[in-house]
Symmetry: D2
Subunit: 294 residues, 4 copies
Amino acid sequence: MEINGVTIDNTYAEAFPTWICRIIITAVTKEWALKAATEATGFATSAIGCPCEAGIECLIPGSETPDGRPGVAILICASKKKLKEQVVERLAECVLTAPTTAVFNGITTAEEKIAVKLHFFGDGYEYQKEVGGRKCWVIPIMEGEYIGEEEFGIVKGVAGGNLFVMGENEMSALMGAQVAVDAIMEVRGVITSFPGGIVASGSKVGSLKYKFMPASTNEKYCPTLRDKVPDSKVPAGVKAIYELVIDGLDEKSVAEGMARGIRAAVNVPGVKLISAGNFGGTLGPYKFELHKIL
Amino acid sequence: MEINGVTIDNTYAEAFPTWICRIIITAVTKEWALKAATEATGFATSAIGCPCEAGIECLIPGSETPDGRPGVAILICASKKKLKEQVVERLAECVLTAPTTAVFNGITTAEEKIAVKLHFFGDGYEYQKEVGGRKCWVIPIMEGEYIGEEEFGIVKGVAGGNLFVMGENEMSALMGAQVAVDAIMEVRGVITSFPGGIVASGSKVGSLKYKFMPASTNEKYCPTLRDKVPDSKVPAGVKAIYELVIDGLDEKSVAEGMARGIRAAVNVPGVKLISAGNFGGTLGPYKFELHKIL
Amino acid sequence: MEINGVTIDNTYAEAFPTWICRIIITAVTKEWALKAATEATGFATSAIGCPCEAGIECLIPGSETPDGRPGVAILICASKKKLKEQVVERLAECVLTAPTTAVFNGITTAEEKIAVKLHFFGDGYEYQKEVGGRKCWVIPIMEGEYIGEEEFGIVKGVAGGNLFVMGENEMSALMGAQVAVDAIMEVRGVITSFPGGIVASGSKVGSLKYKFMPASTNEKYCPTLRDKVPDSKVPAGVKAIYELVIDGLDEKSVAEGMARGIRAAVNVPGVKLISAGNFGGTLGPYKFELHKIL
Amino acid sequence: MEINGVTIDNTYAEAFPTWICRIIITAVTKEWALKAATEATGFATSAIGCPCEAGIECLIPGSETPDGRPGVAILICASKKKLKEQVVERLAECVLTAPTTAVFNGITTAEEKIAVKLHFFGDGYEYQKEVGGRKCWVIPIMEGEYIGEEEFGIVKGVAGGNLFVMGENEMSALMGAQVAVDAIMEVRGVITSFPGGIVASGSKVGSLKYKFMPASTNEKYCPTLRDKVPDSKVPAGVKAIYELVIDGLDEKSVAEGMARGIRAAVNVPGVKLISAGNFGGTLGPYKFELHKIL
């Protein structure tokens, strides 16, 4: 299959379940909401070495937020037992501390909820108040008053949706990947947790040589090893490969994000092929076949 | 003491020692270096609840980096025993994974060093190479090749330098704080680890009411509690207070940062008073007297 | 009328007709489209002293542009006889010259069109090609090939929709104005042509003292002249006023932009009053009554 | 000559004289100074079709500006007779109107000056005041008070310094050009007036086919015409060429900018060759030989 002269590989991305909490951060301006959201979702690229995976999902205009101020939705993804601790610490240290912020539950329909009791920070001076139909705590702080909800819905979502963007050289593949990330981020319900949404060093599980490593370079996809490893999967003429990893609230949003990413990347000169990563079905229950989602 | 009609309080900021690692991240453009640096220094506002304190110190032009590409210097601050783990995880997950990045030791003169052995990720395909006089490892990855040093100098620096920016209302204090942060960031060797460099909810150690809390709101500096708490330190006419927290490689750079921050904040209409936080000398050995550093 | 404790003045904004051309600029990334659009709409705040009024209307995702790449829509507003020259020069000098750009007609349903014959730049090497159903010219250039349409719809739209955001001090009014501009820009079909969308120095027609001046300071709305001019319209407690000026394709989009701007500004602490400017109906045929549009 | 494997052509860039006015715009934050500066230097890429050439030279920290606030220096370049009008209109419409701005003379040592009498906008309410040793006018406006100098030094500078960045494909050449512009902008005294500093469609004087065109595509440097025009100057393997145009206050700063640009571009994978444009010495008196300036 080809789009705009770029081959779309006949393969699928394999993904697995994760628990996700969605939080709406509002602030006096979208810039301040984004600063808090960026800090709160940092050091959260991959569950392999970070305490969670997290990212900014979308901007939300004031006309759609509980307090009428500009907002940013973030997703925090982790195992169920780690999730609460991560939400607590990230909201306490990175959002409650940030100028003019408020936080609201981003999945009001979720069956399960976690409690994030920031109001103890008020040392007894805190009180309750309704804002936009939400039951909030008000905490007196040096800035004035912090206002926020303390119950956040969590759902079982999808982690590890992915695309491989392959180019005739590094800059083509990078621009292709960047444009794909921008397109993916137009879809609500998904994040791309890596820096700029892009992984330069996709990995395989474990290591052939160093047994203590939980993951190591995916040598079959390394262009500089094309003539050195048996069974290299680097196509002729490909000099650079970037992986995009997508986490999302459900299969549909991940599939939509992947489809938009592909359709965007094929417009970048020098992009040669779009593929995806899987482990033959051993990793997880979700399969996103590239030819089907398009 | 007054500058531009704004009172500079006759007090001092109290600070304490921390271990600091300085890392130079380069990339094909400064934007990509910044994206990696932002992710690597996220979730790192305060040692109270984050695994470390970290931030972007400065941009470094290509004419000053080992590989001639645009760079960003970051500081990671923690206790000595936590520092190595944080540097390893943050470089492995947030920089090695990021497009086009390289990392270099940012304090070549340091007596102590930590080893960050990312090259095991190469699964045996890695090799050594000199770049700009630095001994680096080259790791084949899907993008092409990752290049980086693996020994990073660490020094005993200063954490907790601070300023309080007080305004006649919230927006004045916020703009004053923002301008102060911009001025602080002109000084090399310092970071402001909170979102946008600003703390909206400065804290006191412990809690009067909730014994399980390691820190709680600094009620004496809460404008809305001015008439409710005894000994409020909120001056008449002040409606909002922001704290800026500065970590730095040495006392001199922290003092210089604080001085620049003060001189900048006083130019913002509605800023009334600049002060600083201390615990009467019980917290740490460093004292930054506002009237002396100016 | 009050919203969130902020008074909404019982008055109207007066606006007048203008001719508008809407152009879609696409590029390899939205950043490059924005750079071209920013240059092409610069030096275009007010028809009083600039050759036209122009601004960025909105980002357009690749899924909605003729060539599938990320786009930016701009509006260029002027009298009918000036409009063609301005569109020609701004596209020729600021878009054709910019990396990776293409241009497309942004109002395909318009009854009137202007021709912008950039293809002569090709010096005979140019040729025609259809892109996304649009008849385009391809011009060989040093980058590769420039592609663009050469007929652009123009419509009679509305210039001079406006709001006055008044604050208890300068920073409050400025943040209120900034948030209002962000909200206005969520509406398709409108621009705010001033820097950051905000006018700091609203004017009256002509001058009382200097007869050669086509416009001069609106002294009745100057806070520092409140006690010096008769009939000052600065309310008690107001220390700063910013004007937002909105141009749009039709009355409906301007009214919607104004309504969103008001609802956003009232959330900023220290904003006291929202009003609008008119000249008693002598300036133009459009009246936007604040209480009606909300 | 080769640097980092990239050929540096043995040629020179030819440049010519222009008059330049340097203006320092300060504001409450650097963001607001930048917004005013961006508007004031828009629609100013090339003297061929724009009323002037203009651009942002550099950020200036508050510690170096007359009023202690963050600043941006801009250069406006034109013939002597056009320069005054352009400075007047751009300051009046794009800076006086912008939130919180002030303007100051950026070349205090210049022998020649132009007067920019904005104070008439005050309609008699304006008055004089000294700020940072500069004689300024204060104009009451709706925001509060505008403050600015009204005499600006002008000097005879250099226009048309240039580089050609050639790549094995479009994205490589574009990234090479982008990195070069970033490096050029580290040098004080220069601007790159095109969008993002880059020209995608470099031109020759006049047109072979369309006699009414003052400039047309430089077909000898068009990669897609390599096999169609005699004497093509596109080297084998080059698929895209971007031109960077540099204007500066003197020869030294232009040469320094060009040298930094070259040293930066050669670090981008896929950049093959750096050259420059000249007209055999017929255009202007300045010659920048690439091998000498490095």
